[in-house]
Symmetry: C2
Subunit: 272 residues, 2 copies
């Protein structure tokens, strides 16, 4: 079973399009965990145990682990080993936003897909398909390419008109028409730009979007679902990070995370 | 002394615009090192000791370390500690090609600049200035943003016409005119595109370019120097990785690396 099939099976099994972002910022996790050994892994384990019934995917962002260099990556590896052992049918996305030239990408491919064992990775489009081929060639995995990002200043380059359409539209078209020969590409499309999402949906058929920006960043769930669902009432992975994992910073943090995850899973489904 | 001043002082001191890329691919380092503990650090230490007289900067690419996850980053950290202790006046560039949204970048800033202690980092432009502000705010460090990359397929998006100019020109103008208020930005401009480099020089005044693509990738040194030197006969960091560090795979690998580094340092200076 490849990563795309794994995701489809998981969505069916738990009836969920929710992805939980394991952005386990050391300065934000409960104070009593911070001075224990492996605080990020301990936090993640509790969050995963409390939320797994409601999610189709987990997405740790590498920035929150690389803060502690090799020590942080050790906790990311422990998190991955825990997921692979206990919840092997949940998709794992490495939100690393990588992209280098061809031969160099081999290092990232091996590190992210093989050493850590992730099912999917997020990538920058700027270097073009030829550079990213080592990722795209891994037909057992998923490459998720940034198209329209969720940040307020996303438009600086993404909105530039390129041959009569914004750059994000050129990126969406190239990827759906030329990069996706192994049917293993997805796009990042922020919830904070529902109008752009609607156009990207029109340009890309039933392609799946990873959607950050719901919650703390201000994205609206109703508008996102209306703009982004594909013809099968799927095609969206709605990510929430801070809104779930930091719902409480007290001793009940895991329980509250579970409650918020269930709430969001159900809310998403009311729009399908 | 900030990173920009450190680089200027080092260029003066050793009369060199050469940057050596520590792309210490485990499958390419000499066979007798591979089964020792910390093979990448052991290799880097020998390369650094043999080449330091001829270089203004070292640039490890994180991909070659992340292949081994936390274990690889441990060897990168050892490399950085060695450089800081023994050769503290040589600029260190983390070729990480990162970029995330604002608050998330804080993790990379802390990891790359503070945990590892790098002087500079390479970044993707796609998310815009607003996202990269945490890097740009570090006026003690250098942000090196991808403008025109050296790979054969670089043009897929970078050559798209944006308001009458290619995307790489829009990126160059935005960065030199709007991003560089702390005078801590540089651009990546590949040696494989000397005509584009000439135009980027015209657009950006005396800004410094990090130049990959000489050597294995086919970039021509004479054309690069003619296209890229600024009004002070500087403004270029010419990077070579494989051509120096893998000049020999025998027991004389370090000695040969030193010879190649000296050769390239001198060759660069003949064009200044």
């Amino acid at each position: 079973m490849n990563a795309t099939q794994k995701l489809a099976a998981r969505i069916q099994k738990v009836n969920s399009l929710l992805c939980v972002g394991l952005d386990s910022d050391l300065t934000k996790i409960p104070a009593n965990l911070r001075n224990q050994p492996n605080p990020q892994f301990t936090f993640n384990k509790a969050i995963i145990d409390a939320t797994h019934d409601y999610v189709c995917a987990y997405k740790p962002n590498t920035a929150f682990y690389e803060t502690k260099g090799d020590e942080g990556l050790k906790e990311l590896k422990m998190t991955m080993e825990y997921l692979q052992e206990k919840y092997p049918d949940i998709l794992t996305i490495c939100d690393a936003k990588r992209a280098d030239i061809g031969n160099t990408n081999e290092g990232y491919v091996q590190g992210i897909f093989d050493w850590f064992g992730f099912d999917a990775v997020t990538l920058h489009p700027y270097l073009g398909r030829e550079a990213l081929q080592p990722f795209l060639d891994r037909s057992d995995k998923i490459s998720i390419i940034l198209c329209r990002t969720s940040n307020p200043g996303a438009g600086e380059f993404q909105d530039l008109q390129t041959d009569g359409q914004p750059l994000w539209a050129s990126v969406a078209k190239s990827i759906s028409q030329n990069w996706n020969t192994n049917h293993n590409c997805m796009l990042v499309v922020g919830a904070t730009y529902p109008e752009e999402m609607k156009k990207i949906r029109e340009l890309t058929g039933d392609m799946t979007f990873l959607v950050p920006g719901i919650g703390a960043q201000g994205g609206d769930l109703a508008k996102t679902m209306a703009a982004g669902l594909n013809s099968k009432k799927e095609g969206l992975l709605i990510n929430s990070s801070r809104g779930i994992i930091f719902a409480s910073v007290g001793e009940d943090f895991a329980q509250k995370a579970g409650e918020e995850a269930q709430k969001l899973q159900l809310a998403i489904n009311t729009y399908r």
